[in-house]
Amino acid sequence: MSKLTRWGLKKSPWAFHLNTGSCNNCDIEILDALTPKYDLERFGITLIGSPRHADVLLVTGTVTMQTMPRVLRVYEQVPKPCLVVAVGACACSCGIFDGSYHVIGPLDKIIPVDVYIPGCPPKPEGIIDGVVKGLAKL
């Protein structure tokens, strides 16, 4: 990756939000992080609708039997280089759903994860901090 691309990636990470069977708690916190109060556009972060435009994949929830093939497909649809962020206790470690009959496992069992943001749900500040730390890794 050239220096210019890396700079561009750090200054303009477009986020795609993927729910893999979450209870909606983390999703609400992600939307909170995008409100004018936190104003993520200051750092070039915008929420986009198509995985083809994404640089950051925000995944919430445990991976269930239903969503496992979809998670894989969406991950393959994202053009690389990209950053995968596991948001919330469920995506990091299955949380309270660990051992349920429909749960396949935490997100890193399916696709490579760059950043783990624990919490049930994590605060918007925590999500921003996680994404920033992940971008610093690039």
């Binding site: 691309t5 561009g8 556009e41 200051r42 609708g49 435009h53 053009p79």
Partner: protein, 310 residues
């Protein structure tokens, strides 16, 4: 044609006032658009280099071609639209910088070349093999059918008023001799209003962002695009954001190459941004009804008034 001539034309198309110059203004305008929108929502907004960072990132990303898409068409569509806009930028600026350099009918060439980016979007969206892309392309097609008629009638109004001058350079020279078109009668004011509404529709922003409606259609025709082709679409859009106000200034406000043109440009840009931020998206049938109803009637009133010399 001598070598010096060829180099001169290449410079005009690629550097000044063509590709590089127009892109710089267009990217700056798109930043102003985002910054003002942010301020209207009590936010701070992105830094000035945001559009450049977006483009550099997109150029470095992987380009994915979907399985169901028609590869050659899908990948070439953004470049076709981009090439057409680059040619428009050279012709349009040159008409103001050196009015004698144009050719008869360059206005018609510019109007036709302005169709091409929309057509490229339609072709690219349809070739992507994505249902959202196809739906976005069909909406873009309907939007084009909606806004073009009233705008063309507005341009005819001007041609009737100036006694049949169909070259951009000639129109600039005519206005330099007799004052801005906008001050030459009621019919021209009506034509200007119609042309002003055409700009956001052509750019597909504001209440007319129907083709890429992000909350219904993901990103419309852009859905399957990634990496460099998406960046080409972004550049094309930024250049159009610069060129459509410039076209309006050339047609109605004497010349796009004068200190006054900056004021004109800012006013038109502010109009687009405010319209975008204060109006919800129209449905495609509402847009079609709006352009084929009130706008067409208004432009017809304008052309009739022009025929009576008002």
């Amino acid at each position: 044609m001598s070598l010096a001539n060829v180099l001169q034309i290449a410079f005009a198309v690629l550097v000044f006032p063509g590709f590089l110059f127009t892109t710089a203004i267009g990217l700056a305008s798109s930043w102003i658009d985002r910054k003002v929108s942010a301020r209207l929502q009590w936010r701070v907004g992105p830094p000035w280099y945001q559009p450049i960072a977006d483009l550099l990132k997109l150029f470095g990303k992987e380009t994915i071609v979907g399985e169901g898409s028609s590869r050659a068409t899908f990948l070439s569509a953004p470049y076709v639209g981009f090439a057409a806009v680059v040619v428009v930028s050279a012709i349009l600026w040159m008409a103001s910088i050196r009015p004698e350099s144009g050719f008869v009918g360059d206005l018609i060439v510019v109007l036709y070349l302005l169709y091409v980016p929309s057509l490229a979007l339609i072709v690219g969206g349809s070739a992507s093999g994505n249902p959202f892309g196809a739906l976005g392309a069909s909406r873009e097609m309907k939007l084009m059918l909606a806004y073009e008629a009233s705008f063309l009638i507005a341009v005819f109004t001007l041609i009737i008023k100036n006694g049949g001058i169909v070259s951009l350079g000639g129109m600039v020279a005519y206005q330099q001799a007799g004052g801005a078109m906008l001050t030459q009668g009621v019919s021209c004011v009506i034509a200007f209003v119609v042309a002003l509404i055409y700009v956001p529709a052509k750019l597909a922003v504001g209440p007319f962002d129907i083709p890429e409606a992000e909350c219904e259609l993901i990103a419309g025709p852009y859905t399957e695009y990634s990496g460099t082709p998406l960046a080409m679409f972004k550049i094309t859009k930024a250049m159009l954001l610069c060129l459509l106000p410039v076209l309006l200034i050339t047609l109605f406000g004497v010349s796009a190459w004068s200190p006054w043109a900056i004021l004109w440009y800012v006013l038109i840009l502010v109009f687009i941004i405010l319209l975008r931020n204060t109006n919800p998206r129209l449905r495609i049938d509402q847009a079609l009804r709006f352009f084929w109803g009130p706008m067409l009637a208004l432009s017809l009133v304008g052309i009739v008034l022009a025929a009576f010399g008002l």
